[in-house]
Structures are given as C-alpha cells and as structure tokens.
C-alpha cells in the first residue's frame, strides 16, 4: 500500500530578494512498512521534505498525499488531528515538554486523543517497557540523558500507533553508541509494529541501517535504493 506520495513537490523559500529553491519537483512514493533514510549534504532539502510530508509547512507547488488524502486540503485543526492520529514526530533535540515527566510526555498524545486514563496508563507503560525505559517514567527531561530523552521521544511518537514516524536527525545530538542504539530501537519498532519510518540523517550509522536510502542533493533526488 502506498502510504506517502509526493507529486512535483516544490518548495521555494523567499526572504526578501533572495529565493532558495529547497525542493525541486520531487516525486516520491513510500510504501507502508518501509524503513526509509533520507540522506544528503547539509542544505540539500531533507528537513524541508520532512516538514512538507508532515504537514508542518505548505509546498510552493505540488502535492503530498498521505494515505491517499491530499493534505493541502486540510484546515489547520484538521491537519493537527491528522498529525495526532497518523504521524509521530521525532526532532533533533528538545523534543520533550520540560515540565512533564517521561510518562506524561508519552501520555500527552493519548490525552489529546481523549483516551481514558486507565487505557492511557496501560498503553504508555507498554510502550515504555517495550523501549526498556519503564524506570524513566517519573523523571523529568532535565533528569535524563540526551539518549534517554530521544528514547522517550520515540515512545511518544509510536504510542498512538501512527501510520508513519518522521524523524529529523534524531541522532545528531547523541554520541555514536547511543545513536546506534536509538536507530536499532527504531528499526525494531518498524519490524515489530510495522510502523513506517522516514528518517533524515547524514549520520553513517543511520544510513547503514536503511531499508531504503534516498539521497538528496540540491533539492532533487539524486539516488533511491531499496535494500530490503
């Protein structure tokens, strides 16, 4: 099943006089269950692509279909709901809300979904245990290491059973060992739960784990290889 489809996806940033064509008519299809790594040098448009797919930004031209839905047609609140139900996000750093514990951070999307307290508790603990971070439940982000924070971010991204998780340089702020563990974890979630991952990164460790590697350069797809 095609999960994501982009059609002539184009993004031009213009601040004043300077215009930057960050994405140039990108056509891309991603199937459910894939483990995609988007690589490419700095400024090649990785983040731009991810933001457009996640509906965080609007394309200058072209379309994004998520599960067949043209997301440009969604209103602001509908898009928020769509993200809540279908998409998990993992950012580089400062993913978590500082005043909430790990448990509460993971619980947050479930609260927004209006799920009952007992059901929330069950699902949060299940995910935390799955990621082997149950003991972090009552810790606040500033009491956790960077790697632990990113694991909690993964837990928050997958707790709603989204169709897709979008991760932008999730290992950028981690040492290589912790980074490797994190990417292994994401792969495990991909295998165990069938969640589709699209990860932007120029971290070799991440690229090496890719099920499909898309290389971007100057806003176009330079290379697209499937490994499994």
């Amino acid at each position: 099943m095609t999960l994501i489809k982009t059609e002539n996806l184009t993004k031009i940033y213009s601040d004043g006089k300077v215009q930057v064509e960050a994405l140039k008519s990108v056509n891309l299809e991603i199937e459910a269950g894939e483990f995609v790594v988007v690589a490419g040098p700095s400024g090649s448009g990785k983040t731009t692509l991810l933001n457009l797919i996640g509906g965080l930004d609007k394309p200058t031209d072209g379309k994004v279909y998520l599960e067949g839905v043209d997301i440009s047609l969604l209103k602001r609140d509908e898009m928020a709901d769509f993200r809540l139900r279908k998409i998990g996000f993992i950012f580089q750093a400062y993913n978590l809300i500082p005043v909430l514990t790990a448990f509460e951070n993971v619980e947050l999307p479930l609260i927004l979904l209006g799920i009952s307290e007992s059901e929330r508790r069950k699902r949060v603990m299940e995910v935390l245990n799955l990621l082997e971070i149950g003991e972090l439940a009552d810790k606040k982000p500033n009491e956790m290491s960077g790697g632990q924070q990113q694991r909690v971010a993964v837990a928050r991204a997958i707790v709603t059973n989204p169709s897709i998780v979008l991760a932008d340089e999730p290992t950028a702020h981690l040492d290589s060992k912790t980074g490797a563990m994190l990417i292994d974890l994401m792969q495990e979630m991909n295998r165990k739960r069938g969640i589709t991952f699209v990860i932007c990164s120029h971290d070799p460790q991440v690229i090496q784990k890719a099920g499909r590697l898309i290389k971007l350069r100057d806003g176009t797809i330079e290379d697209d290889k499937k490994f499994w």
């Binding site: 950012f91 400062y94 993913n95 927004l112």
Partner: protein
C-alpha cells in the same frame, strides 16, 4: 481539563521568581484596593450614618410636594396610624417627628433670622445626638415648656446669657403673624456654620401651639438598622403612605448634596485604583509575554504532535488565571485583615484634618469596611484586567504555526 490545569500549574512554577513577583504585584494591588475601598466606603457609611442619624434619617416621611416647597402648608398630621406603622416595623430603630419654621428672633436691639427645629424630646433623644452637642446649659426635655436651645453662633450674635428671654416672630399656618417669648436654656454646637447661625430647638408641642399647627409635622426622620434595609422599608411604607398623600424618601433624595459629594469622591477613588490596576495589567502582560516567548520552541513541538492551538492558548490563559487568583485571594485576605484591624482600631486623625472633621461634627477617625462588595468588585476587576492583558500573548499562541515555533531557537 484536569491535565490542562496540571500542565498550567507546572508551567507557572517553571520560573518561580518571576511568578512570585507577579503574584506579589497582583496581591499588592488587590490588598491596596481593598484597603482603600474599605476606607472610602467605611467613611461614607460613617458620614451617612452620622449625618442621616441626626438630620434626614435613613428614610424620611414627608407630604408629597414638601421637598420642592418646604412650607407650613405642606406639613401633615402625625397620626396614630403612622405611629403604629413605625412602631411595628422591626427595621425601624428610632424616628423623630419634626416641625420646621423660619422665624425672626430678637433680643433687645438685635434681630436675626432663625430656623426652628420643633422636636419632641421623647423621640429626639433616642434618635439624634443633638443633646450631646450642648456646649452650655441643657437640652430640652419632656417637661420643657416655653424653652428653647440656640445654635452657639446665634446665641453669640444675640449677646445672650443662659436664662435670658428671646422674642420670636413667625407666621402661623393660617398666614397670620404670631409672636412669643421663650427662655433660652441651652446652647448647642452642631458643627455646621449655617445651622449654628440660625438653629432654634423648641419643643414640638410648643411650636405647634405657636404656629396654630396642631399635631402637624414637616417630616418624620426614620433610622433603620442598616443601609441595606432602606429599599425594602421604603417600598413597604410607600405602599401604605402614598395613598394618604405622603411620600417616603431615602437619605440620598433628601441630602442631595451629600450624595453628590460622596459620588464625586467615590469616582475619583475608583479612578486612582483603575490606574493602579492598569499598572498591574502591564506587569502581567510582561510576564505572560516573556513566558510565552521562551516557550515558542516547545509550543512548536506540541503543535507538531497534534496539540491544537486553541488548547495551547487555553493552557496559557489558565496560567494567567491561576496567578491572578492566587494573588487576588491572598490580597483580599491581607486587605481584609487590615480593614478588620482599622474597624476595630479606627485611625485617629490629628492636626488639620482632625479639626475639619470636628468642625463638621464627626469624630476625627478613619473607619473602614468589610462590605463584601469591596472584595467581589476588586477580585472581578483584577481578574478581568488580567485576562485582558493576557489577550495579546494568548493570541500569539493561538496564531503560532508549528514550524515558526520549532525554528525559533
């Protein structure tokens, strides 16, 4: 909802110092407002009680038309029915039937205009404080006959001594002139120059005989147990007395000038407090703006994972409300304590202020009030202004786009 409140609560304590300062500011404004309003409303109540207690009464019974034409023709009979009505109402503390007359008073060569207060000592002593304001001689009593008490200035002007006789010339109810001799038994200092210059207290019976106005009175001043009884009793009495050609007026309708003075003072007090509250509003605006500003990145991430803008804005609004309510509650409590203390231990004025008070017949003290209205109005105004001042930052959160937030840092 519970979660959003918890979330707001935690956010507040993120920057303890800033939050505490804001709460302190709200608290300060609240307690200052409560104390100032307490002093104002307390003083008004005291003034009204003192003045109404001697003169107009909380309510007053007159004949219709007397207010515009206070002449003898507009007097009325103080009947048993009216007496029974007043005696049987539990809110009535005391009352005094009075007959007024403008006369000429002379002694030897000297003549002055005078205003006779015809009062029944039996009622009057229970009602007013005039008998406590005697500076020479004595006040009238139930056996007084042919006796008068004069305002001290009039007494001086006429160059009298206690025990001297004065000649009073007036116009009876039938329009004919009448005159009589009366013995001066006392001198009173009321504190109002105008009255001290012309007042003559005379037994009600004496005056009625003098003016051929048997059993007639100009007004009946009535004292009630509390201000808040005024409307009810007024209504009640009006229903019964209006058909008889009588009207029942509140103190504010009788003493229009006092009412205006109080209204003006009240308005200027409120203006000052409005200014104070606006200062607090800027403090809150500043706090909320800063705390929102610092969290743009976090808000961006919250929006990205599916938090809706309106819910984020609601959380920020909760934060403001919580801060405001904490400040308001503590402020009301502290302000209330101060007011309570001032009520129990009135601030005694000295110097110039004191003499002004004394000239007007007041005790030179500042009193306060614990009227619930003060607390409710203060709390609502400050809460309202807090919400208003939070609108701009809250609106920014409402309009925030996820990427703007995330990119912010």
């Amino acid at each position: 909802m519970k979660f959003f409140l918890k979330f707001a609560w935690r956010n507040i304590w993120r920057n303890k110092r800033r939050t505490l300062i804001t709460i302190l500011a709200v608290m300060f404004a609240t307690s200052l407002t409560v104390v100032m309003r307490g002093l104002q409303l307390g003083s008004y109540a005291y003034f009204i009680r003192t003045i109404a207690g001697d003169y107009s009464g909380y309510i007053q019974i007159q004949r219709a038309g007397y207010k515009d034409d206070p002449s003898l023709r507009k007097t009325f009979h103080f009947t048993e029915d009216i007496k029974n009505l007043l005696d049987s109402n539990r809110d009535v503390v005391a009352y005094s039937p009075r007959l007024f007359a403008n006369v000429l008073v002379s002694s030897g060569e000297n003549s002055y205009g005078g205003l006779i207060y015809g009062v029944d000592p039996n009622f009057e002593v229970k009602y007013s404080n005039f008998h406590n304001k005697i500076v020479k001689g004595k006040f009238l009593n139930s056996s007084s006959s042919g006796e008068v008490v004069l305002g001290y200035k009039l007494f001086q002007n006429l160059r009298l001594n206690i025990g001297d006789e004065v000649v009073i010339l007036g116009q009876g109810i039938d329009g004919g002139l009448c005159d009589g001799k009366f013995k001066v038994v006392g001198v009173v200092k009321l504190g109002y120059t105008e009255l001290d210059n012309m007042v003559i207290f005379m037994g009600l019976k004496d005056l009625q005989d003098f003016l051929y106005a048997e059993n007639r009175v100009s007004v009946i001043s009535v004292l009630l147990s509390d201000f808040d009884r005024i409307e009810k009793v007024k209504k009640n009495f009006s229903d019964i007395l209006n058909p008889k050609g009588l009207v029942v007026l509140g103190w504010d309708e009788v003493m229009v000038e006092l009412k205006q003075t109080i209204d003006f003072d009240n308005a200027s007090g409120i203006l000052f407090l409005a200014f104070l509250i606006i200062l607090v509003a800027f403090g809150i605006l500043n706090t909320v703006s800063m705390s929102v500003f610092e969290r743009f990145n976090e808000f961006g991430i919250s929006l990205a994972i599916g938090f809706k803008n309106q819910k984020l804005a609601l959380v920020v609004l909760f934060e403001v409300v919580i801060i405001a309510i904490i400040g308001i509650i503590i402020g009301c409590f502290l302000g209330g304590l101060v007011n309570y203390y001032i009520i129990k231990n009135p601030i005694v004025l000295t110097g110039e202020y004191a003499s002004v008070y004394e000239d007007f017949g007041f005790e030179p003290k500042l009193v306060s009030s614990l009227n619930p209205r003060i607390f409710v109005n203060t709390a609502l105004s400050i809460l309202f202004i807090s919400l208003i001042s939070a609108l701009v930052p809250v609106y920014r959160v409402y309009k925030l786009e996820p990427l703007k937030g995330i990119r912010y840092t």
